[in-house]
């Protein structure tokens, strides 16, 4: 029986607002009010290496900076079924493949968890050597509440 829920924050903390996924899981790891069947993990910039991790869970909640043409700090919740049709198949061109490729590959291999939810935060800057923008930093408490509500729903 797979473990229940994984909250997986991804991104590169050195690239400005791309840090948000990692910052969010670091904040969640400090809290003691998460349901016991929830695991919180920093996925960093790992791509296909996350497939064997994700497949151990029933539900995976991904947190990442996602360019959505929204005002910076905007938080959007998507399910994988909503995202999948709008992706273009891309060739694996870098040694380090990205998260989207990992999700497509996991789905093709039929080992994607039954429930995949993505919390995307619109970044303002993703430049290396830049701190997180105030707009994205201000969205953090709202994001954490949304994540906690998510894990407490259909538990």
């Amino acid at each position: 029986m797979p473990a229940h829920t994984l909250i997986l924050g991804v991104g590169n903390p050195l690239y400005g607002d791309d840090a948000i996924g990692v910052i969010a899981v670091q904040a969640l790891q400090q809290r003691d009010d998460l349901p016991p069947d929830v695991t919180v993990m920093d996925g960093g910039t790992e791509g296909i290496g996350l497939i064997p991790v994700m497949e151990q869970y029933q539900r995976v909640i991904l947190v990442d900076a996602v360019p959505m043409n929204q005002p910076p700090g905007t938080i959007r919740r998507f399910t994988w079924d909503e995202v999948r049709p709008i992706l273009h198949e891309r060739t694996l061109s870098l040694h380090q493949s990205d998260l989207t490729e990992a999700l497509v590959l996991a789905e093709t291999l039929d080992c994607l968890p039954p429930e995949v939810v993505i919390f995307g935060v619109q970044p303002h800057n993703r430049q290396w050597d830049q701190p997180m923008s105030a707009m994205v930093e201000n969205a953090l408490p709202i994001l954490l509440n949304a994540l906690i509500n998510e894990v407490r729903s259909n538990d």
Binding site: G49, T91, S93, D110
Partner: protein
């Protein structure tokens, strides 16, 4: 016979970093044929100057997300050579385990995700997962093992944190080692299936004589330390590596090129196989035979086959090392102390997945790095890639432009280039059909 061919692959895919392949044949004469390296230089050597030697392995591990343990190890060996540090047998065994983990991780990624799609008639690993799901699942299982091995020994999958000058700051428990031992045993069926898969692939038939350079060790087919050896018969001490690498600039590349007894040489799995196949562990030797590899092999496409042989060797050596460590038990040892002296210099060398890597540091009496030099495998291979391309193109002139492009890309990929590391990459440009 085609008189004019112009190939221009702008940013070759399934390699790390950015490079272009440019081929220009006019009136049947090869006018231009080169691998252009367009990656921005990264100046790691300059970053090291003025920093404490203790930080060097952590900084230089960031040169590469694939060879992080390789860079860290070469860095530690350079500092240890400069600061007169002898490490213990236990440290050597733990470093070998982590190093094997990285060789496995990198070779598995390269042969399965980057090379296999060319032979199995698909554009990338995503369609490969549809056509050959069992192949991709096997690759992911094997990659997970190598990642777990690295994380257990050095604290993280990439960018090791437990390795330090003189030894280790963290030691795996017997239970950790037992778990790895069981995982490695389970992996043997996947290793055998890998040899079967790659043994059945139609490797392109192309040969060009060149010099192969690798580190050799007295008592094993190893990857850390040793003497520089070449298939032209040279033996050179690590301290004299500059007499082998002879780095120089070419107008079409932001990475330096290298040459020794000929106008270019090759490093990497095939170079290691060609220099020390006799020391492979028995199952790896049998795998080489199954894959049709015989030394000296002058077919660069078979570098990927040599990587498969090294996968077998490393898994078996991991099992041997784990057995030894489990039998002896692991002692938590303090790192060996250093001896600081003015202007101390040291060279560290390792055979990382893509070939021989050198780090050289000069360290002040205060423990600060005064000078650093890093010579990266992909840079050493670039001149050899150019010459292979020039020899390969004339044999392809009757083929379609798409086939020429594919063969050229496959050749460059066979070298498993890590262009961001060496520039400190790949597009094919055909010019004129």
């Amino acid at each position: 016979m085609t008189e004019n061919i112009r190939v221009n692959v702008h940013h070759v895919t399934r390699v790390e970093g950015h490079g272009n392949i440019v081929v220009d044949v006019r009136d049947g004469t090869l006018e231009q044929c080169e691998l252009q390296i367009v990656e921005t230089p990264r100046f790691f050597e300059a970053m090291l100057r003025g920093r404490p030697y203790m930080q060097a392995s952590h900084i230089t591990s960031r040169i590469c997300g694939i060879c992080a343990i390789g860079h860290a190890t070469a860095s530690l060996r350079a500092s240890e050579a400069a600061l007169q540090v002898e490490v213990t047998e236990q440290t050597k065994m733990l470093r070998k385990l982590a190093f094997h983990g990285e060789i496995l991780d990198s070779h598995i990624l390269h042969v399965y995700m980057l090379v296999a799609p060319d032979f199995l008639g698909v554009g990338s690993v995503i369609p490969l997962a549809t056509s050959h799901p069992e192949v991709v699942k096997r690759a992911l299982r094997m990659k997970k093992f190598s990642g777990d091995l690295c994380a257990t020994i050095v604290g993280r999958h990439t960018h090791p944190i437990a390795m330090t000058v003189g030894g280790f700051t963290h030691f795996p428990s017997p239970a950790d080692l037992e778990k790895l031992r069981a995982q490695a045993e389970e992996l043997i069926a996947d290793v055998d299936a890998t040899v079967e898969l790659f043994g059945a692939l139609p490797w392109p038939n192309f040969e060009r004589e060149t010099e192969y350079v690798a580190l050799v060790q007295d008592d094993e087919y190893g990857f850390i330390d040793g003497t520089i050896a070449t298939t032209d018969g040279a033996r050179v001490a690590l301290e004299d590596y500059r007499s082998v690498t002879n780095e120089h600039l070419e107008l079409h590349a932001t990475a330096k090129h290298a040459s020794f007894n000929r106008d270019s040489y090759m490093v990497g799995a095939l170079a290691r196989f060609n220099n020390k196949h006799a020391q492979l562990l028995p199952r790896a030797k049998a795998a080489a035979e199954h894959l049709g590899l015989e030394p000296v092999c002058y077919n660069p496409f078979l570098n990927s086959a040599a990587q498969v042989v090294e996968i077998v060797h490393c898994v078996d050596d991991v099992i041997n090392l784990l057995d030894t460590l489990l039998e002896q038990g692991i002692e938590p040892e303090a790192p060996t102390p250093v001896t600081l002296s003015p202007g101390a210099r040291g060279v560290g060398a390792c055979d990382v997945p893509r070939g021989t890597l050198f780090h050289e540091y000069q360290i002040s009496e205060d423990g600060l790095i005064e000078e650093a030099n890093c010579v990266i495998p992909t840079g050493q291979n670039l001149g050899n890639v150019d010459r292979d391309m020039r020899a390969l193109v004339p044999t392809l002139l009757t083929e379609s432009e798409d086939d020429i492009r594919l063969k050229m890309e496959m050749l460059v990929r066979a070298y498993d280039p890590c262009i961001s590391c060496s520039a400190h990459f790949l597009n094919v440009e055909f010019v004129g059909k």
